[in-house]
Symmetry: C2
Subunit: 493 residues, 2 copies
């Protein structure tokens, strides 16, 4: 089919431009000299504008329409490829160019103002930025689909097929479970260890440990790297060039290690994508929640599991004997899985983490629904922290200003974290059923067996199925919170 | 003037795309995982094609023509900016797209075949590639200007305003001087040191030394980096992001150091460009020879000068005491300036180096002039080596296949190296006249005084003047070989 043959090089070109921006992002976070910030901004703006021109080219729209009208000539992969490309195209062309430019401009300014406001723990300073975002994002949602709740439209950017109603249906039972569960856990006495035992661990040793575990997980160093950056991330330029980063604290080697395993989970997804469709949308993850499921599965289900620590223990004794001084591996395992309400989302344990997400989800939903106002946000945030977690942030820096997301206009992403945790539990429960002796294999460090299963069942599938369908394909059930609740119950009871 | 106001953002966009490619090149040479080679090829091809589309956009041509027709409204810098942009545009639009594609394709294939041919020291294998290049390059030259010698057209890519006749006029007196001069030097006994004294020097210590010298030269680390790569280069993304590389040999710290100083010279040019015109062609070097003059001035005139070694000696004694074991600084200075005919151009000393260039210049001129054939090249190369340097390469790997240039279709670049050496000598002679006690200052490590002079006189001037004019502006004379010959005479007599 001629239209499809003309379509795929255009999609590959967009993917290549995306990869180039991926390298520039990595470069900026990892190696770029400080003085290049402003020039880099110009380079990215130029690339973004060229990308946008190509991505909204009417010829691309015509080809997509033609492909869809002759769908019967395409196989399932090709159909899914057209579906994904068309969804992106249809959204993009609806957004007026001046609105996109205004949002891009606000992103730069918003980030700067947020940094300053956060430093001074002064939400008032950031308030006007949020007001501007709300106005622009509502216009954006309106342009894409005037009939939907604007927050539903934004959520679609990250979780196609999701919406407020579905998320509420998933979060509600979890909330009902977690509130008494947390109280019950808090009434027990905590792990004896409140900080990592032993002396400091040099960054080079921590890196060696990270590389070892990545190797064990099946990370391919011919097609990827591990580096250091202020904010850990998984980026790069697609399946053959997957770059993850972590950050090191001398007195907390577990933090960097868990970071490496988390980003390693994202990396395995990327490296495991279907080679036949590299550069085509269908080879990419169908949602952010699904991508996050891979990092959380590796970090929480595997990396913070007791079997993994059985494998890790002799390695630790060799690599960093002093870090285990006076502590049994069992103690370290309990330390890693300590549950305690805390102020900062990114540092939260897996039991209290969903509350941080629910707070942000409710705030975003009500802001975009016009039920609350930006100027009330500091107070509302603190009130919700008190209601859900029983603690009140002492200031805005540790409260409403803590996350970078809103400073970049990212509204609708937060739910993906907890959706990811649910997917992770559901996938891992299935893996345990399908892979003989999975936990015993993990105790032996045989992690590649799990990697292979994930690759076949999830990474290779890309966007062939929508997220709902994929979940049913893999686990036999639609996504639900049962597996995540069972997992927490079993682990912490 | 409206046309000029519309022109400059277009030129800035091209510069930004060029900067992006600069980062991708650096990335590929320094950090990219091996498995990403093919994907990176695709990314570069996409960028190159977008660049070409924008650079040959008829609207750009119309704006340039309009600016030139209303030149009276522009100041000298703006005029020069239009002149440079128009020269590039006029050349680009004349070249048929399919010819450009054929050359780009041959570049990839040619490099691969060259690597194999070189490994096997087998010129015959590379011969068909060279034949293809000659045919395509002649077509390219014909398309640009059918009335000129095709080699003259190619030289213009690197040295606007230069041609065979002018280069011959510059090279001839140099050749007449160098032949007896070299014989005279060879009849004297050589430096006592034939290898670097002392034990191996760790890469980290060599890097520390390099950083120290760069600092001393005035390299701005807020706007640049030093890294390691197989082939040293100066790249990056323009004045605010200048990245140089070197390579380290444990048993030859002087080699990496001189490499750092050489690339540092290029880097100072880039960092010293006129900020008012960043992103515009007029802020760039007017020729490759002028850029090379900066690296050679720092490497040869300064770094291999006796005054610099006076400054370096106490530093060396502190940083790498064992490397000076049994050797006086004077011995090291003589070792660094050893003259001896040798097979490999990139390892040649400054006295024999011009012969390597003359050999390549004559071969390129005669190939494109149709006076010699590709199949005769191995023999001709060896014959010329014997004639000029009194040595015959034992095989093609150390002979005609040694340089990467022809494998990428780069014909016409070689003369820039020796033009650069001549400019360097002429500039440095002027600097000595104009900067009080320059040599004494160098002995004290006060190198920034020279950097400042170069910045004002050369780096800041960009392409405001053509190369000829700039040389007269700076030195009061057109480029000539007299200063280079005087410099060699004084230094080695």
């Amino acid at each position: 089919m001629d239209a499809y043959l003309e379509l795929t090089p255009r999609l590959a070109e967009l993917s290549q431009l995306g990869s180039v921006m991926g390298i520039l992002n990595w470069d900026q976070e990892v190696v770029m000299p400080k003085g290049a910030v402003s020039a880099r901004g110009g380079q990215m703006a130029t690339l973004t504008s060229l990308y946008h021109q190509r991505a909204t080219d009417p010829r691309l729209g015509a080809l997509l329409a033609e492909c869809q009208s002759q769908e019967k000539n395409l196989d399932a992969w090709q159909k899914a490829n057209v579906r994904e490309a068309k969804r992106t195209y249809d959204r993009l062309v609806k957004i007026p160019a001046d609105l996109e430019i205004a949002l891009a401009e606000l992103e730069v300014r918003g980030h700067e103002v947020w940094v300053q406001a956060r430093l001074g723990a002064n939400f008032k300073k950031f308030q006007p930025i949020l007001d501007e975002y709300l106005s622009l994002l509502k216009q954006r949602a309106q342009a894409i689909d005037a009939h939907q709740h604007p927050y539903d439209v934004l959520i679609e950017d990250y979780e196609p097929g999701m919406n407020i109603k579905k998320i509420e249906a998933l979060f509600l039972p979890l909330k009902d479970f977690l509130i008494p569960f947390l109280n019950q856990l808090l009434s027990r006495k905590n792990s004896k260890l409140t900080k990592v035992p032993g002396g400091p661990v040099a960054q080079s040793v921590q890196k060696e440990l990270g590389l070892l575990i990545l190797q064990q997980m099946g990370f391919d160093f011919e097609r990827g790297r591990l580096d250091t950056s202020v904010h850990p991330f998984c980026g790069g330029a697609g399946p053959s060039d997957v770059r993850i980063t972590t950050r090191y604290q001398d007195d907390h080697f577990v933090s960097a290690l868990m970071g490496v395993i988390h980003e390693g989970g994202h990396a395995l997804y990327e490296q495991g994508r279907n080679e036949k469709f590299y550069g085509q949308p269908v080879s990419e993850a169908v949602s952010m929640g699904l991508h996050e499921s891979q990092s959380l599965l590796w970090e929480k289900q595997v990396g913070q599991g007791v079997n993994f620590w059985e494998f890790l223990s002799p390695k630790l004794k060799t690599l960093i004997p002093h870090a285990l001084k006076g502590a049994e591996v069992k103690d370290l395992y309990h330390f890693v899985n300590q549950v305690k309400p805390s102020l900062i989302r990114v540092d939260a344990d897996e039991v209290t983490y969903p509350f941080h997400i629910m707070i942000r989800f409710e705030i975003e939903r009500d802001l975009l629904g016009g039920k609350i106002l930006v100027k009330e946000l500091s107070e509302i945030f603190n009130q919700k922290m008190q209601n859900y977690l029983g603690i009140t942030p002492p200031n805005d820096r540790e409260g409403v200003l803590q996350d970078v997301h809103w400073s970049g206009g990212t509204f609708g992403y937060f739910p993906s974290y907890t959706l990811g945790a649910m997917y992770a539990a559901q996938f891992f429960a299935t893996a345990k059923k399908q892979i003989p002796n999975l936990l015993t294999e993990i105790s032996k460090g045989n992690l590649k067996i799990l990697r292979q299963w994930l690759k076949e069942k999830i990474h290779q599938q890309g966007s062939l199925y929508l997220a709902d369908e994929l979940c049913i394909q893999v686990t036999g059930e639609a996504l639900n919170s049962k597996y995540f609740m069972n997992y927490l119950s079993e682990k912490y009871s």
